[in-house]
Structure formats: C-alpha cells, structure tokens
C-alpha cells in the first residue's frame, strides 16, 4: 500500500464544495490516522478533518483559502515504514457503471415522397419489395392514406415489386435536414392546406445537443460571470493616425509576406500599457493577487461553431511586424483547427474584436483567470468636435471589462487613457 488520497469530504447531503481554511500539518510532516489534518468551512458547518491514514504528508494539493468540490483530492499521504499505526488500504473504489456500447446508427430507411401510409404499411412494403408510389392515389384511408388493407390487397393481386417491375431502388441516405424548411415553394402537387395550429407554432423547434466546444464556452462564460465582479468602461479613440500609419506600412509588410490589419496596433498599445499597469495583467488566486511576469495577449477568433482564444506570447517584446505575423498565423491556425494546446494557454489579458461585423462596442466577459478584457468596436467615420470645429474622423469605441475585485475604475480608466493616447499620437 503506497499512498492514501485525502479528499474534501461531503459535509451534508446538499454540500457541493468546501473551503480548506487551514492546514494543521505541513508537507513532509508525519501524521497519524484520525489525527487532525486540516480545517474546512462549508456553507453549513466548519470542521476539523482527521487524517484518513497514517504516514507522511507527501503532497499538499490544495492551498489554504482554496475552495474545491467535494471528493477533490486535497493531499496525499505516503506510506513510510517508520510511520507507526496500522497500514492503510485504500477503500475499494465504487464500481463504475459499465459504459453502454453505442449501437451503430442504423441506416435510415428511405422514405418515398408524398404517399401517406403508416409505419405498418411501410414495413409491409419493404418486406414485399413494393414501392408505395405504385399505390399513389389508390389509398382508401382518410386523405388518401394507404392503409393496411390497401397494401395487402395490392400484394394479393400480384402487385409485388418484382412482378410490376417497380422495385424500389435503394434509397439514398437523406442529407441532414436544414434547420429551416426551404423557402422556395414546393414543386410537388399541392396538398390540401392544414388548418393553422397555433399551439404547434409556439412549440419548440428542433433540439440539437450542444457541441463540446459550445458546452465548454457556455461553462466558461457562466463561470466567469459568477467569479468576477464585471464592470465595463468605454473610451472613444480617434484612429486617424493608426490608419494612416497602416497605409504607409502596408507595402513594406506585404513584401515581408504579412497582411497588415489594424489589430496589431491595438495589441501593441495594450501590451505597452500593461507594462505600466501590471494590475491589469494579474489574476486572483483566493485572496492573493498574482502579477504575471509575461504579457501574453489572447486574441479571440471566431471559428465554426464557437470561439477560441489563441495567445500571443510575450507580446511586450515584439515589433509591429513580428506581432502582425504572429497574429495572422494564430488566426489562420485557429480557423484551420491547427492550434496546439500551448497556443491557447497562459494568456494574461484578452482582446476581442466584435467590431469587424459593424458592432459599435461590446461588454465582453473576462477570460478567467484573467482580470480584464478589451473589446474593439467598429471603426467608423464620425463628425467630432476638435478645437470647436467639426471634423470628420475615423473613430472607434474601445471598451474594457475589468474585475472590480482587483481593479478599481480609476485604474481601469487610466489604463484605457494610456492606450487612447498611444493610438492617437501614433508615429509611423
């Protein structure tokens, strides 16, 4: 018996998680079974938790102040022959329900168009090789439906597929149905109009299970909303200078094989501001603020069925060209599903760009465990007042959602003002 896993116990039927408030032993300490090991706090009770085994506290996996779900392993107690007390055997783990084998999906039976019948009639037709089209218009059921009697008498009269020569061809597997019916009028003969059924029109449509990526996004978004105290601030920025700079640099960049968009300007401005406002480049670990050394900026990319945030590593030390190249590369690989796991890790700040579709601005949700996210609105020419004269300028609204647990409004606005200033006085 090598080691015993120490878990966060379930202190009450409805309890889902607990906070480890205090370790009573340190890593490496010897501990006896039933000796107090740590203290926890749940929304029902505070308790001292005894050690489940004797041995050496080999690993402490949850730090003080951390809240974890029940049954999370919080520590590992290693066996040490020197440790006294009866040796421990781990409890047998509860048997898992055997995975149900998924039956291979059955090929869908081809259904012939526009001949009303019933499940039974279709089965009889299939078994006798009869195509129901042969009975079209001969149904005696309500609305001309082909009934059991109809098909049986058809078969009795020798109307099998073989004799009439109308063998139903193997039906092609129908393509997945589009969610909405086609808008064009049907070329089929008109069916009598069914009376409108209001109940049906308000009922639910098609039910489609979420994809894994959709579920993951959903979880992240809700988790973030629950975790951070979201506040959003908005800054209007004149983009004339950066647009001009881009025009100037574009040929040079193209010679280097890099398409230049405006995004790198914002990323570079943000990276530069993050150096001056390290609080925006931090994360929260329990009661501790962790300032990140690296400035790794995540850039949200729209992909089919969702959103992914590849991370531009060490954005602080990159030239505009390097940055543009790296951003393009990440975007391409994101859309082609070629990102490596490392490409989406360790972001410290995120930029999202909903404006590319014309949005004015947005209030983005923070990408946990980061504390701020900047959103780029659409760049649009607007009439602005400069020195009491009205001028036409290309304007953008930048917004910043920040975690008010860590960052106050004054700091967030100073950070944004910094970015604004950089962009408005940009020197090519």
């Amino acid at each position: 018996m090598a080691e015993t896993k120490v878990i966060m116990p379930q202190m009450g039927e409805s309890i889902f998680e607990g906070t480890l408030t205090k370790w009573l032993k340190k890593k490496g300490d010897r501990v006896q079974r039933d000796e107090p090991l740590f203290e926890i706090s749940t929304d029902k009770v505070d308790s001292e938790i005894p050690s489940p085994a004797s041995g050496v506290l080999q690993d402490v996996l949850v730090t003080e102040g951390q809240t974890v779900q029940i049954n999370t392993v919080v520590a590992v107690i290693g066996d040490e022959s020197a440790a006294s007390g009866p040796s421990e055997t781990a409890a047998p783990s509860p048997p898992q329900k055997a995975e149900t084998t998924v039956e291979p999906a059955r090929t869908r039976e081809g259904r012939e168009p526009d001949v009303r019948s019933s499940p039974l009639v279709r089965r009889i037709a299939r078994e006798h090789g009869v195509t129901l089209v042969a009975l079209s218009g001969k149904g005696t059921g309500i609305g001309g439906r082909i009934t059991k009697r109809d098909i049986l008498s058809h078969i009795e009269q020798g109307g099998t597929g073989a004799k009439t020569g109308i063998i139903a061809p193997p039906a092609p597997i129908p393509p997945a149905r589009p969610a909405a019916p086609p808008a064009q009028p049907s070329l089929q003969p008109l069916q009598p109009l069914q009376p409108l059924q209001p109940a049906a029109s308000t009922g639910e449509g098609e039910r489609v299970p979420m994809t894994a990526i959709r579920k993951s996004i959903a979880e992240h978004m809700v988790h973030s909303r629950r975790t951070s105290a979201h506040v959003t601030t908005f800054f209007e920025v004149d983009c004339s200078r950066i647009l001009k700079a881009r025009e100037q640099s574009r040929p040079e960049f193209e010679r280097a094989g890099v398409k230049l968009t405006v995004t790198p300007y914002f990323v570079q401005a943000a990276a530069s501001a993050l150096k001056r406002f390290p609080m925006l480049n931090s994360s929260l670990d329990g009661d501790t603020i962790v300032y990140k050394r690296a400035i790794n900026i995540g850039i949200a990319v729209n992909i089919e069925g969702g959103l992914i945030v590849p991370v531009l590593k060490n954005a602080g030390g990159k030239s505009l060209l390097e940055m543009a190249r790296a951003i393009n590369d990440l975007g391409d690989r994101a859309r082609n599903k070629k990102l490596a796991p490392d490409d989406v890790k360790d972001g410290t700040f995120t930029i999202t760009n909903p404006g590319q579709y014309g949005g004015l601005t947005g209030t983005p949700i923070i990408n946990q465990p980061q504390v701020a996210i900047m959103s780029l609105g659409g760049i649009k020419k607007r009439a602005v007042v400069i020195d009491d004269a009205i001028a036409i300028r290309s304007m953008i609204i930048l917004s910043l959602s920040f975690d008010h647990r860590v960052i106050d409004g004054a700091m967030a606005d100073q950070f944004m003002a910094d970015i604004q200033k950089q962009l408005e006085i940009w020197q090519a």
Binding site: S118, P119, L120, V121, R122, R123, G141, I142, R145, T147, K148
Partner: protein
C-alpha cells in the same frame, strides 16, 4: 349451478384462504360486526372470531402500518380501505414502508390492501376515484384490477398468497352487476396476466376494470357495421402483460387505450409508450386514448355521465380509427 356476483367472489376468495391458512386475517373499518361497508366480510366475524376479522379505528395509515408489522412477523394481513379514495391517507405507509422494505433490508411485506374504487355510483369526488396510478408508479408494489367474478376471486387469492404487497382495486360498479358461474375447485388468476375478452381483427381496445364492459358493449354495436374489435382486459397493471399488449397490437395494427382513470399520467400513457417503442412498425394508425377528463369525479348524474368514458366514445373513436 348458481351464479356468483363479483362481490361474493371476493368474499369467497378471502374466506377460502382464511380457512386454509391461519396466517390470513382481515383488518379495517367496519369489517367485523357490520361485515364491511360493501359486505365483503359478511359472516366472517362469526366464523373466524374477532382476532381474525378486526374492527379498527378510522385510521387508514395505522391499518396499513399494522398490516405491515404483522406481515413482517409472518402473517398474511388483508387491509380493507372502506373506499379506495381513503387509500391516500395510507399513502406513506404503502409507498415508503411496504413498497421499499424488501429492497432495503430483504424483508418482504406480503400484505393485501383492498380498495373499492371507481365511479358510476354517484359517489362524488371522494367515493368514486380510481387512484391506481399512484401505486403503479411505486416500484415494489403490485396492482391488480379485476373485472370479472372469476378474476375477482382468482386475483384476491393470488394477492393473499403473493410474497409482495398487492393493492387490489375492486370496482364498486361491478360488485352486484356482474355474475357468473364459478368453478368449485380452488383456482388463482396469476398476477401480471391479461385476458382477451373478445377476439377481433380490426382494432384492439386495451382496457381494465369496469371499462371492459364498455368496450364489449361498443364491440357488439360495431360488429353490425363490420368493424371487428378485439378487447384485451389487462387484469393487472403492475406488473402488466407486455406480451399480450404487443401481441394484440401486432394482430390488429390499430389500438384504442381505454380507462376510467383521468388522462394525464393515466395507464394509457404508459401503454402508448411501450407500443410505440416496441411495435411502431406494426401500427397502421395513431394510438388513441379514451379516458376520463382531467377533473375530479363529479357528483351530479349529468356531470358524472359526461366524466365517465362511454360506449358511444368507443364507437366514435373506433370508427375514426377504422377509416384512418
């Protein structure tokens, strides 16, 4: 040979089991000196004495609870609910203590709870209900609903001998209306087996309890129109005869589910699911339900008549389904 009524058949079944097995006893309200509100236990006090035909206080929960306790000690109690409507007062003992006992600790609770149920007797909201589905939805119980005198006797005997708790719904409307000649020898009707009451080829009517007769009356009239109904009497709802249900559907390919109980959550819903899951490709028309509406059982005759499924309902739906 004399004809035996449905109510007398129940009485005979209990009597014979009590003669044969000393563990069998009856407890309930007014079962002793009065012989039961419907006279099911008439004459038993004189024959078996006050400790086998036990008059109790008005305490449905304690009647069932005491039956459970005695059953655990090896007895075979029959608890009488004066009306099935009052079984709700014993709901907790039945569903929590009796139904789960074997599963929890291996101790079977061989009790019979008799529940005179059903409408058509102008009893109003509290003397006409069909509360079978609360118990059909409780794993660990068995539920039977006899419709004939033969079944009434055969199922009460089977229920008394069964090692698990059985809720025995006896239909008040049938008590003295239904009579037949019964065999003299000892017989039981196995729990969980349905019976075909009329063989037919066009449409199956699956039903139980007093509605069996509604279906049969409709079948007689439809016969003149050339529509041939098959009538399947479930007899037991938990467990129910899945095989018989699927067989009749596969035979006629059209099915009407008929019961006196209300619609939502009624047994027809369960049958419809089973049929569409296991016999979909045998259906030549939609599965149709005929049930009471989702209201309490009303008292005044015109209201009650509206409430209860009628022969004319079966005829109308059968015609529609036949033409479908």
């Amino acid at each position: 040979m004399a004809l035996t009524t449905y109510v007398e058949a129940i009485r005979q079944g209990i009597w014979e089991e009590m003669e044969k097995d000393e563990r069998v006893f009856v407890l309930g309200e007014d079962v002793g000196i009065y012989g039961g509100a419907f006279k099911v236990t008439a004459g038993m006090l004189e024959r078996f004495g006050e400790w086998r035909i036990i008059d109790t206080p008005i305490s449905e929960s304690a009647i069932v609870g005491a039956a459970i306790g005695a059953a655990l000690m090896g007895m075979r109690p029959i608890a009488e609910m004066q009306f099935a409507d009052f079984i709700s007062c014993a709901f907790d003992q039945i569903t929590n203590f009796a139904a789960k006992s074997r599963y929890r600790w291996g101790a079977g609770v061989p009790i019979v709870v008799r529940a005179p149920s059903g409408g058509g007797v102008h009893g109003g909201p509290f003397h006409s209900q069909n509360p079978e589905m609360y118990y059909v939805h409780t794993p660990g119980l068995k539920v039977v609903c006899p419709s004939t005198a033969y079944d009434a006797k055969g199922l009460i005997k089977a229920a008394i001998r069964d090692p698990d708790p059985v809720i025995y719904f006896e239909h008040k409307f049938l008590y003295r209306r239904i009579k037949e000649e019964l065999p003299a020898d000892d017989f039981v009707v196995p729990i969980g087996k349905a019976a075909i009451r009329r063989h037919g080829t066009d449409i199956s009517v699956i039903t139980y309890g007093a509605m069996v007769y509604t279906a049969l009356d409709a079948a007689r009239q439809l016969e003149k129109e050339g529509i041939d109904l098959e009538v399947l009497d479930l007899r037991s709802l938990l467990p129910f005869d899945r095989e018989a249900v699927l067989d009749t559907v596969k035979k006629t390919n059209k099915v009407i589910l008929l019961h006196e109980d209300t619609r939502i959550g009624g047994f027809a819903g369960e049958l419809a699911s089973v049929i569409s899951e296991e016999a979909f490709e045998y259906l030549d028309g939609p599965i149709r339900r005929i049930t009471a509406p989702d209201t309490p059982v009303p008292y005044s005759p015109p209201l009650e008549e509206f409430f209860l499924p009628k022969v004319s309902d079966v005829i109308r739906v059968a015609r529609e389904l036949y033409a479908y």
